[in-house]
């Protein structure tokens, strides 16, 4: 069957498949030789495999982000699937594969995400917030609607950034409905912009890495700078209270300095932006961990949740019926 995906193979089954190298590291083996530790991926997920007796030129050839055709067999090691590689060759650009088909994507189409976000933009009546949000959404449209929200912790999939943003907007709407004292427009503006600095912080949706600028400045300050430049461009006073409140939201949205907040939240809406961000990331990370856990057992340690393990109940229809995240 021509369209069989990476995770469609069973244990012990032979496979010949074109996949992407999500990770590739040259390592010494105990016999004095070297091997490549590889992570293969396509839109169905990720599997590991070792390429033994790798030469220096192999390491040059098989780089992160390139496509390869793998011939091998799926096996189980320590409860995790691996591919025992028989042979492997580089797939060249002339073979016409679409790179984006080999990357795991958010479970909602980009067009839907754009619609949901734009509907919320329309509900922002304040002209200063609306103009800045629209300006930046337009400036970074291509990256914002393709980047993941992170390398590994949560929403680490193509379009993950927009998926995370759209879900947060739904949470923001619900909370503003339950607590009428909340400034709904400001909260929406904050949700849309809060992680947009990641378009500078990461390299893109494929073989994602952090940039030097990302490491040295961080996405909170990176988007704050963009708000100031946008205001300058749009002839809005960056020191007006409207823009000040927005700048405060983005630089404080990680909540605590030790998690990267340049300031702790000091308005009701900044505190809520932080809590909504945390809520969505948490639900995603726990759900993802439980989806890889046998019912009645505890998950692997979840790094972004203080290395806690989470218990998957023996029977839980809601969880069982939920779509697979990663």
């Amino acid at each position: 069957m021509i369209n069989k995906k990476l995770l469609d193979y069973n244990d012990g089954e032979e496979m010949d498949i074109v996949v992407m190298l999500k990770d590739a590291q040259l390592r010494p083996s105990r016999n004095g030789k070297q091997y490549l530790m590889l992570y293969f991926s396509d839109s169905s997920g990720v599997i590991r495999g070792n390429y033994w007796n790798a030469s220096a030129s192999d390491a040059e050839l098989f780089k992160v982000g390139s496509l390869v055709e793998v011939n091998g067999r799926r096996e189980e090691y320590q409860d995790h699937p691996q591919i025992r590689i028989y042979s492997m060759r580089l797939v060249g650009p002339e073979e016409g594969y679409d790179m984006s088909e080999f990357v795991n994507s958010a479970p909602i189409p980009v067009s839907d995400l754009k619609n949901e976000i734009n509907q919320k933009v329309d509900q922002i009546a304040n002209p200063n917030w609306k103009r800045v949000v629209k300006y930046l959404l337009h400036k970074f449209e291509r990256q914002f609607f393709s980047f993941p929200a992170g390398k590994s912790n949560h929403h680490a999939v193509k379009n993950g950034l927009a998926f995370h943003t759209a879900t947060m907007l739904k949470d923001a709407e619900a909370i503003a409905n339950n607590y009428p004292q909340v400034n709904r427009e400001l909260l929406y503006a904050g949700c849309i912009l809060h992680d947009m600095g990641k378009v500078y912080e990461m390299t893109g949706p494929v073989a994602t890495k952090y940039t030097a600028e990302g490491n040295l400045i961080g996405h909170l300050v990176l988007i704050d700078e963009e708000i100031v430049l946008a205001a300058d461009e749009l002839n809005i006073d960056a020191h007006s209270e409207d823009i000040l409140l927005l700048r405060h939201m983005v630089i404080s949205h990680h909540g605590l300095p030790e998690y990267g907040a340049a300031r702790r939240p000091a308005t009701l809406e900044a505190e809520l932006l932080h809590k909504i961000d945390d809520l969505d990331a948490t639900v995603y990370a726990i759900t993802n961990a439980l989806q890889h856990t046998v019912p009645g057992e505890f998950s692997e340690m979840v790094r972004s949740k203080d290395n806690r393990r989470f218990y998957r109940p023996k029977h839980d229809n809601n969880l069982d019926n939920f779509k697979k995240l990663e």
Copy 2:
């Protein structure tokens, strides 16, 4: 005007009014005498006043929770109102006042709170959770629908416990709508029970204090014990997964051990219960602080939020139009 309330008087106005003593402490003054530092309250709010040259018998007479008739004048000290007391007398039970009229209450009637909570109980289909929740709601009905949720941090008003619970259930519903993988029934059961142990932890809605049992055990373990006893009474196996999941939720709902959690949350629903509890307490505490803050200024330090100060924007219709909490 016969029905003028404590907070209806203006600065400098003379007053003669029956109020309750919310707090009363004998303190030494610098002239070698003593005075009573008093907090007066009725359903409109709280004002402070000092009763100078107090004797030991005055301290015996004017105790926390008793009613007094105060004759005096409202004045401003350091931006806070005080009553300069001309004279004060104890109001006896024979005068027929209803104590509950002198206590600040939640802004929603008890009957509405009961309705909202009972509607959620009806949506719990799982018989084990439903029976335990109904059993305990019935066992503690009187206290649960009159106690505050705390002495000072948040929802420190009559019916505050049920008000806090009902609002959390609305948040839980919204979150379960946004994340279908969540077990809605378990989350509702956890919300209803999580703070119910406070009926042992505190003395009641008037002149609230913590009990010895509250200090030595804490409301998390106190309600866990009640769940186990209820299961025993209802012939439900307390070690079944259903009851285990519920016990875990209540003992972990403070999130971190240093905030009183006997265990950190280890299920998706336990983590969400903690986050919803924190969300509702946070919104209440910040709103309450901002309602006592001049627009364009920072609030007093909010103790339950790490002593942070929160900024009240110069113009914010949502906040301006919102009902007064305390």
Copy 3:
């Protein structure tokens, strides 16, 4: 010699012996195959060994807690003994071995431990404490007098739980003698009950694991629940001060929330219970570490003591003459 035990063999000696698998994990080897990392044990102690080129069916066969006959040779790797395995076969139940002979036990016979504990129970005059303690000692007698006190940190041997309890009672007696203000009866009751919840928290003395209930509730709250149920059964008011003091002791005996205490100790006896527990666990852990250390050197890192290393003096008769713990 027919009764030669696992630790009686010398370096380089061939061995053919029946032992228990205390641990067994399938791991990948660098040649693309797999091996089983095994820990063999009998009443003399524990030795490690690797079973190379293990198949999936080998992993099914050789499980934690099963008996095997090993043919091999003792060797030294990095200062630790290992068994180089020539062959290994499963020993079936029909061969009539007594499992408990292959588990390391506390150095004091169970009958002695029972006597020591019962003598202390007799010294509890208060009827409420005495009845609850006797009821629970009887309810959990089988497990209480066979379980270890933990998986690895201290007293991780058969009967370790009762051994730990009995030693703590001796410490409690000495401290009550030195400080007459201490309520000796309450302290004894607390010592006996404090870790009894471990009968729910762990799976038993062989191949010990933590249960889901242990992870989700913890042995402090688990025994607190049992005290409440026992009081209910015995018609003692669980909210009386006697039972309240006992409940407080068990839920606070880990001292700090971050170590699992639901409350910090708030009575003299609760504080002492915590200190005695810590004292006995500490002496055991350090002694055990030093017994595996060369005189004049530092021990391995002791995990339960903040990963500190402890120095074994060059000459120390007391330590040299002391019985081997594990």
Copy 4:
């Protein structure tokens, strides 16, 4: 003598002097009245005094930053000097006093500070750094050469910001001389800009307060925004490595997130900027504390140094001969 300054009076001496109100707070006194707690200042320093039985109109009249003529007597309270006020009147602008003469200033003239800083600017050869530094020095010249470096911790005097900057440049020069691997130009640029955001963070040299913008954004991000705007204005790519290194320095110069750093220093020069800033602030704070301490005793607690107390040796010529800081 006409020019006698505030600190020139001896204990017990009568005084009639024009001074500025550095602080003024209305407080209740125990007799049911109010008083103004005042801090008087001129260029010689600060003394406290209480204005008893203050009316609301007194509080309106005697505000922070206004000039008053005080008639009174210097006295000692608890080892600290105070002024017992006989009478006090407001000094109007028509009386022609120069406000800046009543504020404590840095011990080095502004013209010298400008010279020292400009000499270092001249040594920056890199055109990108030089242009940005010159642009911002010019844009904020008036405030930069009059503001203090803080409200209380260190350099809390007029021109303190430039004094702190100039001293740090001398330290930077010495360190670059001792460690030739350091990029001297980058370090100088970082020193000059690091605290310049304080021109937005504080209200000015007289009666200094933090602004809302200062509290919500902080001077680290405030100057980072200005660097980005300056680069935009000067047609320098803000994402070039030169500007990136400079942005990183300013947002990381507080070292640790809990002290306000948006990023921890991640270049040699960023780490050195942080250390030099800390060094100069520390020497200032300790010296200032010791100058108010009797030889052979410990100082008051120094708040910015973890509330430590510092010991002033019985004989120390270097310290004894050093100019008074505040």
Copy 5:
């Protein structure tokens, strides 16, 4: 009655009595005058009193540690006794009072403490430890058998240092009996020396203060230096293992660096010394707090126990019958 002591007077009773000033601080009162806040003491305990309208010469006269004759009346302020002072005069040395009768002492006579400690010295067979211990006991005999163990936290009474030491030796004996692997001689030597550096750290049993040397070096290092000097004097190699083990014990006995330990304990005996020290200080502090608490209530916050409050049970014969500590 001629021998009536300070604490023998009842509330409201007039008194004329010679007492010592345990503390005396000049403070401003709100009426622009000053008063002396005094703590009076004799062997029965301590009571507070304020001396109003104090002049500078009063403050000179009534200094900490001097004897005064007070004429006044005992009154209750906020549940604490105070003396309302009618008149007060200094008692001169010519009146022949014995200062030591006005200081609270440990409840065991010094001669008994000496006996108990010397008996333990006799049980140290190791000549190096014995000689050093005897040398230092002799060198500091006068101070060691009169100093308190601290200013306020625990054993803050005359002879408190020796009382604390003697009780710890009893605990050490009990623990060495229960755990035969412990080196009893080393533990005894460590107990005797561990706090002996306090003879340099504090000024003495009357009006105790910390010395500059105490603040700059600390009693742990101070006694370590003395051990090295003693070994030098006695021609024992300070780098021998015997002396090394002893030095390690004293510099590590506070357990954690943040509590003053120069090293964390790294031998079994060093760890035990720390635990015994902590045990004795804890029992003392809690007992002392409970002795000032009404049954059925919580104590004041105990500063040395993380500001915890401790509960005094309603009925507890052991505690009720125990001798008063302070």
Copy 6:
């Protein structure tokens, strides 16, 4: 070429060279055999290599600190050079090699370091400080001028201790020039002595290990003891303020208790000693890390700097031209 050094070989080049074993550990390999993990060193630096199929007698033969002749080939593994060993033999003392030629040394000759340090000693006019410093410099001269300053964190090279000291003296001079209130003589004395206790703490410049005395006491207290003994020997009162200030400096120079300070710095000079120590160690560690980093990339994690990674700019002449440290 006879004098080719270890790091002079290129990737793939055959080598036959005499080097020292800086580290040697016997480890199990996955094929059931063992290998020796070796680190070879000479004055040019360090390279790793594995000696496969090592026997127990090989491990006896090839010990840390011995010289070997290695025949093999240089190869690259994971961006790090290794030696593939063909054969290896022990080089005996009779072959006449000078051990010190195989150890990496500080980049400044010992004679220069001695000069620099002695010049500073000459500037100490205070006779007490001068005599103690000279006495101890003489007593430990041999070790002080050959030991490294540590095993790995910084200045982990031969003569590293004196190199670190001499550089700190230059920093101290610069700071004393910028801040005339500093007691320059005391600061110099502190710099020279602060790490001198390392001569007891470590085993020496070759195959450096920590001694038991180092682990149990620590170099801060070790040099404090020496100061006290020196004063005793020189008839200087160890309790005089001069010696007290010096003792305080050495025991506090790590700044924080958790980093080993027995006291936090409490004089201006003690605080500066700590800062200068930290400055020099920091510059060394970052420079060393960056020298092993490709321009435009982040370094490995630097353990002594909280595991931070540091960025090496793409172009930085100062760093590029700086001498190699390790």
